[in-house]
């Protein structure tokens, strides 16, 4: 557990104690609400997790890196961005992987595109996002994030 997660636990713990001291019945209701929220999202999150596991088994990040290396810049950027949308990769895997891409001469542009869509655009999390925020929000946010991920990557290629 990293320090930020721990801080969140500690902060929430403190908040919970404050809440109990101030008003027990309100706290009880809040916890009930939290439990309900968890129950409502559990199956969706479980599906996402299992799907990510599956996608990473079929398309391991290393093989994607290998594939991207062989393409020309533009195609590599689109492919990298597209692959980034499919899945979520934890930061401690994503950053070394992107580092490898840059070192291998793939270039900054595809690497940044990959990094940005990796975390910001989620095909896998889309059903959950649609359920929580509505279809329009989910579609607009994901499309805009994808477009801007490529723009960020391109501008970065110019600067670096």
């Amino acid at each position: 557990m990293d320090i930020f997660t721990m801080a969140m636990w500690a902060g929430t713990g403190g908040f919970l104690i404050f809440s109990v001291v101030k008003d027990k019945s309100k706290t009880k209701r809040a916890l009930k609400m939290a439990f309900g929220m968890g129950k409502g999202m559990l199956l969706s999150i479980l599906s996402i997790i299992l799907l990510i596991g599956l996608v990473l088994a079929i398309l391991p990040p290393q093989s994607i890196a290998g594939f991207v290396e062989e393409q020309n810049k533009l195609l590599a950027t689109v492919v990298a961005a597209a692959f980034g949308t499919i899945t979520l990769i934890p930061a401690f895997i994503a950053f070394p992987l992107v580092g490898t891409l840059v070192d291998a001469g793939v270039g900054v542009v595809p690497s940044v595109a990959f990094l940005t869509t990796l975390t910001m655009v989620g095909v896998v999390t889309f059903p959950l996002e649609r359920k929580e925020f509505g279809a329009k929000f989910a579609v607009v946010r994901n499309i805009l994030s994808f477009v801007f991920a490529i723009i960020i990557a391109l501008v970065m290629g110019v600067i670096i």
Binding site: G53, L54, L115, G122
Partner: protein, 276 residues
Amino acid sequence: MINVKKDEKSKILNVIKNNIFFIIVLISYVVMFIVKPPMGVTSVKNSVYYLKEMLMIMPVIFVLTALLDTWVPKKTIMKSLGKESKIKGTIFAFILGGISAGPIYAAFPFCVMLHKKGASVKNIIIILSSWAVIKVPMLINEVKFLGVKFMAIRWALTMVAIIIFSWIASKIIKDKDLPEEKEEENKCDVSINRDACMGCSLCAKNYPELFGINNKKAEVKEHDFIINVELLNKVVEQCPVSAITTNIVKQKGEDIINEISQDETDTVEEKESEVS
């Protein structure tokens, strides 16, 4: 709006429809294990990592979201993250997203709650995006593998991009495109302080679907329909001894909340001590 009793078949169909995503994933796993067992094992192993990540962060997110929902008044959220919050709201949204741990889906329930309490679409998108991609917890990792210069430029560009596209999104997405307090409508708690009730049966007369008289005192009937908030609020107001308490008054504006939450807590406490 009483739900019509569905027959068994459509019930099963509904369950399948609601969980179609999960079912598809499960079928994919079965296929994978038949076609390529070692890959299936790898998939499960991968999933275990994400499962751990989820269990580390989601419980705390849910509790934190519910606590904030309970304690932070709507006015505060509107002021700090609403449409009028301007640049201060933008900065606050970046900070909220940037310091939070966990994957992007962890931000979903949190942001839904904020929006219900008056945060603007623009600021919600900023929180979601910065939660995903410009995280302080990731910073050290990024510097380690990609260098300070890379990190600094990427952060600056990403922040500018987020500001631009959250603004574009707020032009396209209207508040009504997002779910409002529907959930609360369904789940709303109505309770009666039976010690205070004097059995005038006014509530049962005005809203017979929800209230009944039992043992000369009012009681809340079992219900699975969407409660008519306006009618319910009227009934609550009319009760001569203010024995009815609800948690759906949020929708009716700030002043009513404060007024009711005061005696609400009292009565709920009484009710709970009575139960235990």
